[in-house]
């Protein structure tokens, strides 16, 4: 049977988390969504450290990163992922509140896979989540992960 892979969502705002999950539910996106509150926690999850020490091995099929987060922002997380041999192939999609040219330049320089501005209208947001989910969590193919 085809196994649905996990999506990692790094987002510090609980309302954004709730609305994103609602939008995923509206789209019947069945993937498991792991929610982390900031960049530090995202890296702990990805590296199986701290409270994620005992989680099963395997990378998410996509990492959805907010840019503005406490402790460690999304751009820092992206930098760490791309410089980590075990993580650098994982697709990363920035999901942020506004289109800032310098964020676009910086994240593409660091090798982001996509950059999405959260639409103010919820209907458009649902549509955006639908497209992100159906592409990265369903359609997109990834290389096999080496056994760890």
């Amino acid at each position: 049977m085809y196994k649905l892979r996990t999506i990692l969502l790094a987002e510090d705002n609980s309302k954004d988390v709730e609305l994103t999950i609602e939008a995923m539910a509206e789209n019947n996106l069945g993937n498991q969504v792991i929610i982390v509150k900031d960049g530090i926690e995202a890296m702990e999850y990805l590296r199986r450290e701290g409270k994620y020490k005992l989680r099963n091995a395997g990378n998410p099929c996509v990492i959805l990163l907010d840019i503005k987060m406490p402790r460690m922002d999304g751009i820092e997380v992206l930098r760490s992922i791309r410089s980590d041999d075990k993580l650098k192939k994982v697709p990363v999609v920035m999901i942020t509140s506004s289109r800032e040219e310098r964020d676009l330049i910086k994240t593409y320089e660091l090798g982001v896979n996509a950059f999405v501005v959260k639409p103010v209208s919820f209907q458009q947001f649902i549509e955006a989540i639908k497209q992100i989910g159906s592409f990265w969590a369903v359609l997109n193919e990834l290389p096999l992960e080496e056994e760890q």
């Binding site: 609305l19 509140s97 103010v120």
Partner: protein, 403 residues
């Protein structure tokens, strides 16, 4: 027995002796004179070099005694202090020119130099009794006499106000950028949440909501949308003032077509006659001029909405080495009495229920054209349409688009 010859010989000998002494004295004197002349020449030369420094250097030079009274200042500083008589500074102190706070700081610095014998280098703000502040880069040193005793201080200051202003401006700009970056992120997020929850309420509980509740929710959503537009417009306004102009040779026809395309698409159902003249090239920033045309044309469309047939005319004429572009419509127009308010931020001549808008569009047009060294103005009459003009100076680098 007086021997005249002997006496003669003696006298001659004495005379010769005197002559020799005289010669040697003369030699000493001449030598002395030569030396004196050399010293004098050296002194004149020193004086000449000193004067070259003191009379011509634009930096401020001063010598002070141990109690910080001026002993001597150069011409630049005398002029700076507003003194006209040579030596007028003697006996005066910084307290005669600067605010007490600044003069006291300088006095304390000089006392430190006198006690430590060490130089002091710093950039400082000078606050004056009767003029605006300025910035100087200063080096102050102990003044030594020939025996090596410290008898005062001297120093050189260079005015760096222009550089400091640029630094301050850059800092203010950076802060503004950080501010609008934060605004665009942080103001948009709660708006998104409002929209999201209103939407969820309407979709999940539509059947159980009373009509009144739905009406309230519609209004909440509408206001959130309006605020979203306001934030976007304000951010754009802040960007058009901040971003560097990237000017190139541009074909205005191309920009106008780029802008009109989507406008035509959005207003398919309306009866619009476009009258567009052939436009010249200009030297300008493509993205910013597109904002200008977008604002002017969407305004023309907005304020003709109530007309059965819309006529929009785009024209150009030459005036004083500039190309003047115009957008003329047959819309509701406005009373010229309020014309001077048109290009100000948040200025609106119509109610929000009548015609939507944030009152930033024309302010943006004005700011962009101003940055292109051009002008903006308008002509209108209530119910007889409006014409908006903007000029862009012609530039040698711009070749005509008509070959």
């Amino acid at each position: 027995m007086f021997n005249i010859n002997k006496a003669k010989v003696k006298l001659i000998n004495e005379l010769q002796e005197l002559q020799r002494e005289n010669n040697s004295l003369k030699a000493i004197y001449e030598n002395y004179i030569t030396e004196l002349k050399q010293v004098q020449e050296a002194l004149v030369r020193e004086q000449y070099l000193m004067n070259a420094l003191m009379n011509n250097l634009p930096d401020y030079i001063y010598f002070k005694d141990t109690e910080s009274h001026f002993i001597k200042i150069n011409d630049a500083l005398a002029k700076y202090f507003g003194l006209s008589m040579p030596g007028e500074e003697i006996g005066k102190t910084d307290f005669d020119f600067f605010t007490e706070e600044h003069a006291r700081q300088a006095y304390e610095d000089e006392q430190t130099i006198i006690q430590s014998g060490k130089q002091l280098i710093r950039e400082e703000k000078e606050t004056w009794i009767n003029r605006p502040d300025n910035w100087v880069s200063t080096i102050k040193l102990p003044l030594l006499d020939n025996e090596g005793n410290i008898v005062g201080t001297f120093g050189v200051s260079r005015d760096i106000t222009a550089r400091k202003r640029v630094e301050e401006l850059n800092l203010a700009n950076k802060e503004l950028e950080a501010f609008s970056y934060s605004v665009s992120h942080d103001l948009r997020a709660p708006l998104r949440h409002i929209n999201g929850y209103v939407d969820l309420l309407l979709s999940r509980f539509y059947d159980t909501l009373p009509d009144k509740a739905r009406h309230y929710l519609d209004n909440i959503a509408d206001s959130a949308r309006q605020m979203g537009t306001l934030i976007d417009d304000l951010l754009q306004f802040s960007r058009t003032g901040r971003l560097e102009l990237r000017q190139t040779n541009l074909d205005m026809n191309v920009i106008v077509q780029e802008v009109i395309g989507p406008i035509k698409q959005e207003n398919r159902e309306r009866n619009i006659e476009w009258r567009i003249a052939s436009l010249p090239n200009v030297y300008g920033d493509h993205a910013m001029l597109r904002i200008v045309w977008t604002n002017l044309l969407s305004n023309a469309l907005k304020f003709t909405r109530t007309k059965e047939k819309t006529i929009i005319e785009i024209n150009v004429f030459d005036e004083n080495e500039a190309s003047v572009f115009s957008v003329c419509d047959n819309g509701v127009g406005f009373d010229m009495q309020y014309a001077q308010k048109l290009f100000g931020v948040f200025q609106r001549l119509h109610s929000i229920d009548e015609f939507e808008g944030t009152g930033i569009g024309l302010a943006n047009v004005h700011r962009i054209i101003l940055r292109h060294q051009g002008r903006t103005w308008a002509n209108a009459e209530p119910d007889k349409g409006a014409t908006f003009y903007f000029s862009i100076p012609k530039n040698k680098e711009v070749k005509s688009c008509i070959n």
